[in-house]
Structures are given as C-alpha cells and as structure tokens.
C-alpha cells in the first residue's frame, strides 16, 4: 500500500531529525521548543517450577526457575519538539534488557494539534488496542508490575506498533469527557516466531475505532480493530498441513489455511474506577480469526485494590481461552470416522487434531500485589502470582518485584 511506503520512509527521515534534536539540545532549544520525558523499570522475577512453560504446549511467560532480571527491565525516553503552534514531532526510544539494551525507536510521529479538540498523528505509533496498550512500557502509570498477560502478552509481534494516521477527538460535557480515536495503517516486515519458525509478518489496511467516556472517578472504553490482510510469511508447519489437506481432497479447507490472508478482528471493553481509597479495573477482550487454524481467543481480568497512604494493595483474577474453529475438525473427523477411504483419512484427521490442540489454550491466574510510592516519582512493587494451565493441568507460582520511575 502506497501510504505504508511513504510512511516508512518518512519515519526514517524524521527519526534522523529527532536523533539530531536529542543530541544537539542547545540548537533545538534556541529555535524550537522541545521537551523530554523518561521512564524506566528495574525488575526481576522467578518461578517456583517452570513446568508450566516447558511441559505444556503453551509458553505462559518468559520466566524461569532462576531469578531473571532481563524480562521487565527497560528504559525509555520520549522527546517532543514543537515546530510551531500547531505541529510537533514526537519520538520514543526504548531499550530493553531482553534485547541486550539495543535501542529501538518505538514510535516516531508528527502531530497536528487543532484548536477544536482534534489531534492527528502520522507515523509509527502504538496500536491502542487495549486500555493500557499505548503506555504498556510505563510501569509507573499502572498498579501492577505488568498488566495481566492473559490480555497483554506480546506473543503476536505484528500487533504492537503500526505505521498509521490516527485522529483523536475529545469533548467535555458536564463532568464527563467523551473521546473517539480512529486509525488506519499497516506494518511491514515485522520479525516474528510462529510455530517455531522465524518469519516476517506484514499487515495492511488495518483500522481501529476506540470510544472513551470518563469523569473524575470512572473510565469506560470500547474498542474495535480489524486487520483484514495479515500475512504471516512462511510458516513451515502450516505449509505441510496445507499439502496434506490438498492431497486428501480438502482443498477448500486448505485454501483457508494459507497464511498470507488472515482476517482478524479484535473487540475490547474496559472499565476503571478510582475512588482514591479503592480502585477497580476490569477488561474483556475477544479476538476472532476468520480464516485460520488459530482459534478465537477470549480473555478478561478483574482487579480490586485498596490504597492506604502510599501503599496500594491489589488482587487480580485473569482468564484466557482459545476456542477452536470447529469448521476445520468437523468435516474431516466425520469423514475419517465413517466415510469411504476413512482409513487413509485417519492420518490427516490426526494431524489436524494435533494442530488444533496446539492452538488451543485454557488458563487462569490469581495475583496479589503491593505497590509502594516513595519519593516523588518512584514506586516499588512486589507481586505473587498463581498461574494455572487448565488444558495441560499444570500450575506454578511466580514471584516478581519491580522499581518503576519517571523522570
């Protein structure tokens, strides 16, 4: 899509521009108004038993039986340059311990500020998929060490960032403020690992619509996203399965499995209540895959917290499940059981069943945590989590701590 190519090169050009601004602040501040803000987390975690990640078909998190400090530790810096009254450029750079602190220009976009409550951003941005998505790296801004992985896991890498044009509008009425955000864009050549294969994913014509309503204490959010052309690249496992199905006479099903044409829809509802002394957060998300082995996914969490001076105590229950696409198993299973040539089909049916079992998931977790706000912009967090893999009957506990700060 032409727009994506233009955005891509634009991104490179002004990334260089921003890098110059950061390294020559004296020049920038003499002529233009720039502002820098940073955030960071130093954290570690350990599992009491890693069977939940190694024995099951699904890897729940990246933690292990020895203390790991590289999963949550990160540092980010955001610089914003005001070109004039209406235009500004923003870039955010993040270094993560897990990437060996290799700097990654997460975002870079041009903003147009209108006087009537409109904001237009053009460039690379975070997809505001769920309530905490667009500030997921700023640990300081939310009570947990990390928002529930049932909703916020990063296992789909084409999902976090998007090269897009987005419009944000907010309007107050009485004590409420209503907001609408829409975006349109895509991503190119995002490295990913799917079914054990390294591949490069592409998306185009992605679009999202997000509605928000908030007042002093309550925050409501409704979101819808569609990624109509997801290209997962070359996934060997799926190629093998397609060949088998083709040979067995199920070409129409095989057609649907071609990994270059996924159609994915995301639905999201979130509510947050903050009454000072106590707080409540809940979120529900649903991901529908229209043409794929990948199963539809439902996940949700509910969190209740109590503030006592500088402490916040919280408990969260989270749940996640993937429901298989019956249209793949149904006809094959039926034919394998009783149709002509059913013996030959047993093999195909078994392969399909394996694929479906591998793409199914059922898990839930309980988390207890404490957040302590000390100094002006630091917080210390400690969490204990019980994770249950209900499909493979595994469970374990995760202990983690983190120090979050902003500067």
């Amino acid at each position: 899509m032409n727009l994506n190519r233009h955005i891509g090169s634009f991104r490179r050009v002004f990334a260089a521009f921003c890098a110059c601004s950061i390294f020559y602040p004296t020049i920038a501040s003499a002529e233009l108004d720039w502002q820098g803000n940073g955030f960071g987390t130093f954290g570690g975690g350990v599992l009491n038993d890693d069977s939940i990640n190694t024995q099951g078909a699904f890897r729940h998190n990246s933690f292990e039986e020895s203390f790991a400090f590289d999963i949550d530790t990160r540092l980010g810096y955001q610089a914003s340059l005001s070109l004039n009254d209406k235009f500004s450029i923003t870039a955010q750079l993040v270094v993560r311990a897990i990437d060996d602190f290799e700097p990654n220009l997460e975002w870079g976009y041009l903003t147009f500020h209108s006087d009537h409550g409109f904001l237009v951003n053009v460039g690379r941005q975070r997809r505001p998929s769920y309530a905490y998505s667009d500030y997921l790296d700023v640990g300081y801004a939310y009570p947990w060490i990390r928002p529930p992985l049932e909703v916020y896991s990063r296992d789909l890498s084409f999902f976090s960032e998007v090269d897009a044009i987005s419009v944000h509008y907010q309007r107050p009425f009485d004590e409420w403020t209503g907001s609408v955000q829409v975006y349109y864009g895509g991503t190119t050549d995002n490295a990913a690992e799917i079914a054990g294969d390294r591949t490069e994913t592409n998306t185009r014509d992605d679009a999202g619509l997000f509605l928000g309503l908030e007042n002093d204490h309550i925050n409501l959010r409704l979101g819808y996203q569609v990624l109509p052309n997801v290209d997962l690249g070359d996934v060997e496992f799926t190629n093998i399965l397609i060949r088998f199905l083709d040979n067995a006479g199920y070409s129409d099903i095989a057609q649907d499995l071609v990994p270059s044409s996924l159609y994915i829809e995301y639905y999201n509802f979130a509510i947050g209540v903050d009454k000072g002394d106590w707080l409540f957060n809940a979120e529900y998300t649903q991901t529908d895959y229209s043409r794929s082995l990948a199963a539809d996914e439902l996940s949700w969490y509910a969190m209740g917290g109590r503030r006592l001076g500088p402490f916040t105590l919280h408990y969260t229950y989270a749940d996640r499940e993937r429901v298989n696409n019956e249209k793949f198993t149904g006809p094959i299973r039926a034919d394998a059981e009783s149709g002509p040539g059913s013996a030959a089909l047993q093999g195909v049916a078994a392969l399909v069943e394996t694929a479906l079992v591998l793409s199914s998931l059922e898990q839930h977790s309980h988390t207890l945590g404490i957040r302590y706000d000390f100094d002006k912009a630091y917080s210390l967090k400690v969490e204990y989590q019980w994770v249950y893999d209900d499909r493979d009957n595994l469970s374990n506990q995760l202990f983690s701590f983190a120090i979050d700060f902003v500067f």
Binding site: Q35, N37, F39, G76, Q78, S80, T90, Q92, W107, Y109, T111, D115, G117, L119, N121, Q125, R126, P128, D134, Y135, D137, V138, Y140, A141, Y142, H168, Q170, P172, D174, E175, T177, D216, D274, G276, L308, G309, P310, F311, D373, K376, A377, S379, V406
Partner: protein, 162 residues
C-alpha cells in the same frame, strides 16, 4: 510491632507535606477576564482536557512548583487527585502523546506578575498574596487541620488491625 512504626513513619512523612500550608489559596485570572469559571472548568483545563476558557479563548494554565504545598492542595481540592494519582495521570498523558502538564513557576510573585501581563493565564496563589491586578475566580479552603486528621486516622486504623 514493626508495621506500626513503619506506618507511623510513612504517615509522618506525609504530614510533613501539609504542615506548612497557608490560610487558603485562590485561583486567579487577569483582572479584565470577567467570565465565570467553575471548579470543573478549572480542573478540565489543568488536566489538559480543554485548551480554552469556556468562552473559547485560549488558556494557559500555570502550576506552582510541585515542591510547594499549594501544588498538593490544589491537586487534592480542585483536581480531586492525590499527588501519585496525578503523576500517574500525567505519565499516561505524556507517554501516549495526548498532552503535557502545565508549566510551573517557582514563586507566587512570579505567577502574579505573569497573570497581570496576559489574559490567557490561569493559576493559583496564596489567598493573602492576591491584589487588584488580578481577578479571583475560585477560593479554595486549605483545611490543613482536616488534612492532618485524615493522615492520623490512617495510622490509627492500621495500628488497631495489627
């Protein structure tokens, strides 16, 4: 018991922030700005939800230095957020590119001087420092004693439970 002492220390640290509060503070604008402003309008402006006065003119809110007790009082009374809620709020706004916090000045005198020079400024100062060069749109009682009591209550509650 360790928890008691720890909480006592934590509460006292909190009390320290309020103990130097003055008689009250007032939210002020240029003397020629005659339109009324409600507490809600002011909160919206200081939280970046609106960049205009209700009449449509551009507004530039200004804070006192965050180390000044008036900053915390204004946050609690008008914005209805505790300092940590406010920091988390601005962290969210800043790092999602939706806005930046108002600029701040170190002293009430600087703020008063600025307000007198431009019709777009909106800020707050100690009630006793106000003058005829500015117009008061809202009065905020500090109720320092009430604030202190709140902190002590938290300490007592915890003691009883442990």
């Amino acid at each position: 018991m360790n928890y008691k002492r720890f909480f006592a220390i934590a509460s006292i640290a909190f009390l320290g922030a309020h103990s130097a509060a003055g008689e009250g503070l007032v939210v002020i604008v240029h003397s020629e700005m005659h339109e009324p402003l409600s507490s809600q309008d002011i909160a919206r402006i200081f939280l970046g939800k609106s960049s205009q006065f209700p009449t449509g003119e551009k507004v530039e809110p200004l804070n006192i230095d965050p180390a000044d007790p008036n900053y915390t009082i204004f946050a609690r009374k008008v914005l209805r957020k505790s300092p940590s809620q406010l920091r988390a709020y601005w962290a969210r706004q800043v790092f999602t590119g939706r806005g930046t916090p108002p600029k701040s000045r170190k002293t009430d005198e600087e703020l008063l001087r600025l307000v007198a020079t431009g019709k777009q400024y909106l800020t707050y100062v100690d009630a006793e420092k106000t003058s005829e060069t500015v117009r008061v749109v809202l009065e905020v009682e500090t109720e320092a004693e009430v604030e202190v009591e709140e902190e002590l209550k938290i300490e007592i509650e915890v003691d009883v439970k442990t």
